[in-house]
Each structure stands twice: as C-alpha cells, then as structure tokens.
C-alpha cells in the first residue's frame, strides 16, 4: 500500500513538474488588435455605451420615485402609472448595463492589459469588493421595488416609496464609488511639494486616490446629468407611446407624461452648465495646461459643437413649451410685466460686463444679477408701471430672439482654428471684440438661456393655472421635439464624455501612466462625431426596443379617465 501511495505521489509530482514546464514553454498570447476601429476606439465605444445605460438606470429611478411620491401625495394614479412604466423599462435595461459593463471589462483587459492591471491593483478594494457588493445590493432592491409595486399599495405605499429612496441612495453611492477611479484617471491625487507624484501614488491610501480634485465635481455633474437624462428618456417613452396610442385616453395620458418628463429633464438641465463649469474649473485648477488644451487647442472645436448642441436643446425645450401653450384655452389673457422683457433683452450685455469687472468668485457681480432678476418683479407692482405688460406670446417670442442671441454668443470662438498654433488674423476675432470669446461673455450667455427658460416655465405655469388645458390635443410635432431632446441629450453626453476622457491627453492616468500605443493622439471632431452618432443610435435602438417590448403602444389598458377640457387647477 505504501508503495502504491509513493508511486501515486511520484506520478502526481512528475505530472505537476511536466505541466509546469509545459506551461512555462507556452508563449505569450498575441497582442489584441481590434479590427477596423483599433483598440482605443473599441474601448471608447463600449465604455460610452455602458455609461449611457448606467446613466439611465441611475437617473430613471430618481425620476420614478419622485413621480410615485407625487402620485401618493396628490392621490393621482397617473403619477403612479408613470413611475411604474419607467421602472419597467429600467428593469429591462438593467441587464444591458451589466452586459455592456462586462464587455467593457473584457475589452479593456484584452486591449490594455498592463494599464488595466495597474488600475485594478490601485483600486482593488473598490473593484473587487465595494463595487460588486453595491451592484448586487442595487439589483436586489431594484427587483424588490419593481415586483412589490402592486402588493405594496394603500397603507404600504409609504414603505414602497422608502424602498425606492433606498434604491436611489444605493445607486448614488455606486455612482460616487465608481467615479473615484474614473476621476483619478483625470486628476490623480496631488503630491505635496518636494514629493514626486510617482512616489506619492505608491504609498497613497485608497481615500487619497478617491478624493481627488475632480471626484466631487464629476459626481455632481453626473448626478444632475442622470436626472436630466431620466427626464428626457421619460419624454421619449411618452412620445413613442403617444404616437402609437389608439384612444384619446391613451393620448391624453402620454401627452401629460411627455409634459412631466420634459419639465423634469429641463429643470435638471438648467443646473448642468454650472456643474460642467465647476468640473472644468477643478480640472484647470489641478493643472492649468488642461484649460488651453480644452478651450484653445485640440478640444476647442469640441466645445464649439457642445455650444451648438446646448443651444439646440434649449431652443427645443422652449419650443415644446410654446407648442404646449398654444393648445391652452385662455392663454391670450396671460400677460407679464414688460420689465421682464426689458431685463431679458439687456441681460447678455449687462452680465457680460459685470462678470468682466467682477469675475467669479467675486461676489459683486451678484448685485447686477439680482437687480436684473428682481427689479422687474418690483417695478411690475408699482402703481402706474404695472400696466406696462406684454402678452405671453410676445414674451416668448422675445425669449426666442434672445435664445438665438445667447446661442450666438456662446458659439462665437476666439478663432475658427482647430488649434491655437494655426491662428492667423484672417481666422481670429478682431482685437476689440475678443471679449466675445472669453468666459464672462459665455457665462452671460449661459445665464440668459437659463433665465429665459425659467421665465417661460413661470408663464406656462400661470397659463395652465388660469386657462383650460386639453391633454392629448397637443400639436403632433411636439412628439418629435421630445424625441429630438432625448436624442440630442444623449449625443451631447457622448460628446462631453469624449471631451472628459481626452483631457487626459496621451496618458491613461494624467501625468502618471503614459499611453505608449500609436493611437494615443486626440481624434478629430469629425471622427468622434461618427462614433458618438453610432453609439447614440445603438443605445436608442435598444431603448426603443425595450419600450416597445415592455409597454406595447396601443396595447395597454386605459387607467385614467377620458381627456376632456378641464381647468388644470381642478385636477
């Protein structure tokens, strides 16, 4: 028996040695070279797609739980149905998020094995423990939240809403956690003077690496962006369903849903320029050379395109208000102080000068801002002056004029050149007009857009309170506006995500881990636009499919009473 044991051990030992020798002789696997796109573009496309799905599954539950709470508070079943439909689509897209996340990981590991391993080692606890646990927890809560919808009604509704809030807390924490490594790649922790960054990173704690310069600005930017995204996708769902509706009841409901989606989307959109500004400021504070790279060099035309996209989104969202307003009976009686119109007309010029004299964070510019915002309200109450009013339609038309002016200011570059090095007098602003291309002018334009949209919503709110609105009877073109908003918001997200990644220049981790591959240069805007459009279309196709499969236009049962001319106040 002993001999048998010994023989078995000897044979086993020989097998192990043989296997080890054989393994040692296995040559390295060939390097991965993604066909057609190249490795860098492949990672970019998959990452972009994953982030879009992730943004939706994080943004939609925020939207849904707010709607569910409003429904519970106002005892309005429409809100509850809206929330449930959005969550239905979210559940389907949740699996797509996991799938694209896995794909992203495989592609990244295959194409950039050294860098991927380096990053995973630096954030091992995040990637191997915290993030998976949070993802599992979120999955459990999401499915519980969805499948308990019908059973947790009445007295249990409050608990169901609490579950939704918990889902959003876990989702937000997940976002913040994964933003750690992402923002670290842009702005790795800064070493104290006299200490090399390379040495510091080797000994830095996980928290040092997580809480880097751009972490919190990125968290806030993405959080607000996700809510905007959730709102616009709810608008998209409403548009599809409105187009496919067979009855007036359905059209009435989906018209209302489009209105709510757009309102939440636009409401969050108003904060986005400031969040983006905060992120850009932090990037520039981290390393001032990032600023010219973004604004004057290779990325300058990307920002020109961003200006065009933001301008189009603001135009479209206000056009939706216009179309909604046109179907309200009694809107012709709604008037607004003419001083508001005057304030809007002078706002870009006054604020441009104010921010030039007192650039942020100097507070004096706020005096001018407060004067422009509040003076019309006060003057509008002064006897003798309060009769100076304009109609709702005139006010909105003045608003549209100023939106075009603000867009024009936002989009005026210092020079029509792809990089500052190529600038000549024939392509640059004349010396006296260079202020048009500087931040005070851009800030004034952004604030005008935001202010105008708020004014339009205030007026719209007055109109629906005093007039009579017929849900379901909106101009059919409005549905294309909702679709346009969702498409453009997704495209802009892709563009700005590309910009954020490109600010790392030829580094995987800025100033720390160089990208030695031949693809490390900045792609052109035209090339990027093709891929961003491609990713947007793929995402759109999947979301459209999910909507059609889960909600089936024309097939759902009517829940709300038939649409009829009812003053909104009465609802």
């Amino acid at each position: 028996m002993k001999t048998l044991h010994r023989s078995v051990w000897i044979i086993f030992g020989l097998m192990v040695c043989g296997a080890a020798v054989a393994y040692a002789q296995v040559p390295d696997a060939p390097a991965v070279d993604f066909p057609y796109t190249g490795n860098r573009t492949a990672v970019w496309v998959v990452a972009n797609l994953h982030i879009l799905f992730a943004a939706f599954i994080l943004g939609a539950p925020i939207f849904a739980v707010v709607a569910e709470w409003l429904g519970h508070k106002n005892n309005d079943p429409k809100y509850d149905r809206l929330a449930k439909e959005v969550i239905k689509v979210t559940v389907i897209l949740y699996s797509m998020t996991a799938l694209t996340g896995g794909l992203f990981l495989f592609v990244l590991l295959g194409t950039y094995p050294d860098f991927s391993t380096w990053l995973i080692k630096h954030f091992f606890l995040v990637f191997a423990v915290i993030y998976p646990l949070l993802f599992i927890l979120e999955t459990v809560i999401l499915y519980t939240y969805f499948y308990s919808w019908d059973s947790m009604k009445g007295s249990l509704k409050g608990r169901h809403i609490a579950l939704g809030i918990l889902l959003n807390i876990v989702g937000t924490v997940t976002l913040f956690v994964i933003d750690g490594p992402t923002s670290f790649m842009n702005t790795p922790a800064k070493a104290a003077e006299g200490v090399s960054l390379f040495e510091f990173i080797q000994t830095a704690t996980l928290w040092d690496k997580m809480s880097n310069f751009s972490w919190m600005p990125l968290n806030l930017h993405r959080l607000v962006g996700n809510v905007t995204f959730g709102g616009f996708i709810a608008g998209l769902i409403a548009a599809y369903m409105f187009m496919g509706s067979k009855t007036d009841e359905e059209r009435s409901y989906y018209d209302w849903m489009g209105f709510v989606g757009n309102m939440i989307g636009v409401g969050a959109l108003l904060l986005l320029p400031f969040m983006g500004y905060l992120l850009a400021c932090e990037l520039c504070d981290y390393d001032a050379s990032i600023c010219p790279y973004m604004m004057a060099d290779q990325l300058s035309m990307f920002f020109e395109m961003q200006g065009a996209m933001i301008g189009l989104i603001f135009l479209a969202s206000n056009y939706y208000i216009w179309l909604s307003l046109k179907r309200i009976e009694g809107v012709e009686n709604i008037r607004m102080s003419g001083f508001v119109a005057l304030a809007v007309l002078v706002m870009p010029a006054v604020m441009g000068v104010a921010w030039k004299m007192f650039p942020p964070p100097e507070w004096q510019s706020l005096i001018y801002l407060a004067a422009l915002v509040f003076a019309p309200m006060l003057l509008g109450r002064v006897p003798g002056l309060k009769n100076f009013t304009v109609s709702a339609f005139t006010m909105i038309k003045i608003g549209f004029l100023m939106i075009v002016v603000a867009d024009a200011i936002w989009m005026t570059p210092h020079g029509f050149v792809p990089t500052q090095g190529l600038a000549t007098h024939d392509l640059e602003l004349p010396e006296w007009a260079t202020e048009l291309a500087l931040m005070p002018a851009k800030n004034a334009a952004a604030f005008t857009l935001v202010f105008l949209t708020i004014v339009n919503y205030i007026m719209y709110n007055r109109a629906i309170k005093r007039g009579t609105i017929i849900w379901g009877k909106i101009d059919f073109a409005s549905q294309f506006v909702l679709i346009f908003l969702a498409f453009s918001a997704i495209w802009t997200m892709g563009l700005m995500g590309t910009v954020r990644s490109l600010t790392r220049k030829y580094y995987h981790v800025y100033n720390l881990v160089p990208d030695f591959t031949p693809e490390a240069f900045t792609p052109t805007l035209a090339y990027s636009a093709w891929w961003i459009t491609g990713v947007t279309i793929v995402f759109y196709a999947v979301v459209s499919f999910a909507i059609l499969v889960t909600l089936r236009p024309g097939g759902s049962k009517a829940v709300v009473p038939k649409g009829s001319p009812v003053p909104v106040e009465a609802k």
Binding site: D287, A288, A308, P418, Q420, G421, F480, W491, F516, S528
Partner: protein, 269 residues
Amino acid sequence: MANQSFMKSVLKKTTIGIIIGVILVVAAQQTHFPQVFQVMFFIYAMLGAFVFILLDAPAMKRLEGIKAVVALLVFYVLLSGLYIAGASILPQFDPGVEAGKIEKVLKMRKAKSQQGKAEELIARTKELDERAKAISKLLRSLGAGAQVEAVATSTSGGAAASGDIVALGKEQWELQECYNCHKLFGSGGKKRGPVMDNIGNLMTPEQLREKLLYPKKWKAEGFDKQYKKGKMPDKYRDLMFDEEIDALVAFLASLKDTSVTTPKPIKMY
C-alpha cells in the same frame, strides 16, 4: 388657406432674416471681422428666421402606423446626418502632427520603461546582427584597412544625437506646449503667463531651472492673480528628464531680446 398664410409667413420671415443677415455682414465688415465670422453672423440671422418660421407653423397632422415609423426613421437619419455634418464642417486638426509630438515626448519614457527596454533590446540585437553580417561580408571581400574603415563608418553618425542643446530646448518648448501660456517671438500665449523674449537677461540658468521645477518660488511682476491661482503647473519635475530640463533651460537662457518688454521675475522664497 392656412397653408397659404403659412407660406406668406415663411416668405416674410426669410426676407427679414436675409435683411438682418446682410446688415450684420456689412456691420461686421466695417468693424474688421474676418470673413468666416461674417458668414457665421449671417447663419445666426437665418437660424433666427427659421426659429420664427417654426413658431408660426401650422399644427402637424397625426401620423399613424407605418407612416409614423417611416417618419421616425427619416427623422433619426436627418438628425444623425445633421450632427455629423455640423461636426465635420468645423475646422479639424491633423492628428498626425500631435502623434509626431507625442512620439517625441514619450520616446525617452518608453525607452526607460520595461516595455521600452525589451523593445530596445530587440531592436539593438537586430541592429548588431545586421552589422555583424555586414562586417563579415566585408572581411571576406576586402583587406584589413577596409575592415577598419567599415567598423569606423558603422560606429560614426552621432552628430545628430549630440545635437545643439538650444535647438533641443526649443523643441522642448514646443513639446511641453509652453507657447499656450507664454508669448515668444510674437506668437502664442493668452496672457496666462509672461512674455519670455528677454528672460535670459533677467534670470540665470539656475534660477530658470528653479522656476521650472518649483514654480511658486518665483513670480512675474504683474502676474499676482495667476501666481495666487498657481497657474504655472508644478508637474515638470515629475514629467521631464534632466536632459530635457537642461535643454529647455539652455534655450530660455539664450532668449535675450531687450526690445521686448519682459516682466521682471520676483523671488518669493
């Protein structure tokens, strides 16, 4: 009837848009805006006209079934085309230029990395192999004098490598993109940093090196705000090799054009 009135509105607003556009173009010409900006102003005027046409457009008829699907697909194709075209019309840079720059910047880093070392070894082995073959071929066919000449030829050619340190420093100026913040020879810089044309007369090479590695130790006169905000990056001590820093310092020290006013450097600590 509604269509006729809409067509009238289209004509009226297009005409107004063109008139405003022409006024803007003439005003831009008179105030010395380049042609590209004049075109841009005209486009904005036409965008305004288009927006006001849309505001008064009659309500769209409801689309159902296949018509709605086709309309949606056409809409998506139009949007995609519009965004791609918009991005493609804007000026595009040549990625080849940047790729060349990156190649130069990363060359030394790559050589010092493990991957670079392996690649360098392979390249070196290949080179030595080629040389050995060439030498043996020469030995077989030529005499001893020719053999020495061949070896001498193969080991020469280092002139380019030794290079002119000031020229190498100028290359570093370009590669590190110093021109983005500092004006030199009348170009570059957007008031983020001081003009550098006469810096060689105002700072010694040691002081220049100190400023480059520890930017907070020196401030340029009149650049208090930029100094306070730490505009000059402190990354170069981590990113540049000694040879590169020496070259850049040599280049900066050679800048002695007294005709250009260069802000006075102030020692801070």
